[in-house]
């Protein structure tokens, strides 16, 4: 048999899925502040000689002279020399570090350390930094590692400035364009691991952008791109500050405190409330009696809803191993918020308060251990329902590997066999947003 087509196919598969790689960032010659110097060309040897004569303020730093670059500036030039280390902004290592050597107005050589931090989204989108559209921050230090100043760029234009924090939070009194510029304090960690507190001013000029809107502005002083309809579609980000992370429940898929979820039902009285238990099944192969398929092994979740006088609380949760890889087979358990779960079949039961509360109590204190064969997500839901006096349709099926046990595929098939009655849904759907925890 000819091997070439097979090898070619494999090669194409590998190439099609090849990783993206970071592109080398090139220095931007517009980022150096200071006056244009006319004292003649500065040679690398002059820079090296000057550097050797300087008191060594940081013996650990070695200059990467081999990659030094001469950047034209008027009739003169300056040198950019890479330095080791990487700044950290918003907890993420990003950007790079260089030292600029230039002549001042008297002709003497001076150096400035630069922490250059491209905006992460801009860098992801563009792959490299260019002068024309640089978006990000540049921090400028003197030899004593004192922050002198900095600039904020958006699309290659200066959109703000940075200065050492004075500890004050408002600086607008000193500004001429009070209505368009805002100062605020921020921080980052420089390449030496030192936390740097700074103030930054970001401006938008109304003469360019009437009715300034951070996402819709079109003027040079404004930020951003129009929001896309599809949040998943690749698009450019923008500069500016990074907001503080929020901690909405269940966003990150981390385990939840099931008791704090179940406690919410206590905010509604039992008397006069309608209570329902819904079991949701994501089948491995929807509509087919297989126990593995496009949805892998599938999933079973349980939803509790309590409604009183039009006020309703719904919590949908599932039972998972708190592990990855092969450890998932037998691991400590965790409960996850199952809002937004796509299910194929469901079955619903109206229950009285005592049953509802027993189920909620079971979920609040779930079994400690998950086992893929003997105690998985389906076992958990079946047991939870059992504590409330609910007998679910048969969930036992072939698990593969010569094992029999409770599986989502079998439970889904059993619910389908009941058909579309009053309390079953074989059309599928998506669980809504759960209420989340209550403290």
């Amino acid at each position: 048999m000819n091997r070439k087509p097979i090898l070619l196919t494999l090669l194409l598969l590998l190439l099609a899925a090849a990783c993206r790689k970071d592109t080398t960032i090139n220095p931007d010659n517009s980022l150096i502040p200071g006056k244009t110097d006319t004292s003649g060309i500065l040679t690398l040897q002059q820079v090296k000689d000057w550097f050797r004569k300087q008191p060594v303020s940081n013996p650990g730093i070695t200059m990467d002279w081999a990659n030094a670059e001469s950047i034209p500036r008027g009739s003169s030039n300056y040198w950019l020399v890479p330095m080791p280390g990487q700044p950290e902004l918003n907890g993420i290592k990003q950007g790079y570090r260089k030292t600029a050597f230039l002549r001042d107005s008297t002709g003497s050589i001076i150096s400035r350390h630069l922490d250059i931090i491209p905006d992460a989204a801009y860098f992801q989108r563009k792959g490299k930094v260019t002068t024309a559209d640089f978006t990000g921050r540049v921090f400028i230090y003197n030899n004593n590692k004192q922050l002198l100043a900095g600039r904020i760029y958006v699309n290659g234009k200066q959109a703000g400035e940075i200065k050492p924090s004075t500890g004050e939070h408002l600086h607008t009194d000193a500004l001429q364009l009070v209505e368009d510029c805002q100062w605020h304090d921020s921080s980052y960690t420089d390449a030496d691991g030192v936390l740097v507190i700074y103030s930054e001013k970001i401006c938008s000029y109304s003469s360019y952008d009437d009715g300034f809107n951070p996402t819709e502005g079109g003027g040079p002083g404004s930020f951003g791109n129009p929001p896309a309809e599809d949040p998943i579609a690749p698009q450019g980000g923008n500069g500016g500050s990074s907001p503080e992370p929020s901690n909405l429940p269940g966003e990150d898929g981390q385990k939840i405190d099931p008791k704090s979820y179940m406690d919410c039902f206590g905010t509604l009285p039992d008397i006069g409330s309608k209570m329902t238990i819904t079991v949701y099944v994501q089948e491995p192969a929807p509509g087919l009696p297989f126990n593995v398929g496009p949805n892998s092994v599938g999933h079973t979740a349980i939803g509790l809803t309590k409604t009183y006088n039009g006020q309703s609380i719904t919590q949908v949760v599932g039972f998972y191993p708190d592990a990855t890889g092969k450890s998932k087979m037998h691991a400590p358990s965790r409960i996850l918020d199952n809002s937004d779960l796509e299910y194929n079949v469901s079955i619903q039961y109206d229950v009285i308060a005592s049953s509802f509360n027993r189920i909620a109590s079971f979920i609040s204190d779930p079994p400690d251990t998950y086992d893929a064969f003997s105690y998985n997500c389906t076992n958990f839901v079946v047991d939870a329902c059992k504590t409330g006096g609910i007998s679910l349709p048969d969930a036992t099926g072939n698990m593969g590997l010569m094992q029999t046990g409770m599986v989502p595929g079998a439970l889904g098939s059993s619910i389908r066999n009941i058909g579309n009655t009053g309390n079953t849904n074989t059309s599928g759907g998506t669980t809504g947003e759960t209420h989340g925890p209550c403290n």
């Binding site: 918003n90 993420i92 951070p214 593995v292 599932g318 996850l336």
Partner: protein
């Protein structure tokens, strides 16, 4: 040679289309630009890419200020084409791999 090819195909199918995939597959992870939204798939147990999309959409609805600045969802996992047990994901649900990559090294999670 023919036997070898059949065996290789059988192995690939076995690792992609049986419960072995549940054990072996990576829990793909995602975040937005500033990592204020994070989502981790939980292979085969409902926590899939579609759930992540829905949650991110809701997140943007609840946080309009973030929707205005950067709506992009990033994958925070690297693509590992040599993992033949994940080839079915590349083949049948490849959208997640088209997201731009965001490195999380050094991030405070």
């Amino acid at each position: 040679m023919k036997t070898l090819i059949i065996i290789l195909i059988a192995v690939v199918l076995l690792f992609n289309l049986t419960p072995l995939s549940y054990i072996l597959k990576e829990d793909y992870t995602y975040s937005n630009y500033d990592m204020s939204f994070q989502f981790s798939e939980h292979g085969g147990a409902g926590y899939n890419f579609e759930m992540g999309r829905r949650r991110y959409k809701r997140f943007l609805e609840k946080n309009p200020e973030k929707a205005k600045t950067d709506r992009q969802l990033y994958r925070t996992f690297t693509i590992k084409p040599w993992r033949f047990w994940q080839w079915s994901d590349y083949l049948f649900s490849g959208e997640r791999f088209k997201l731009p990559y965001k490195d999380t090294i050094g991030a405070n999670k």
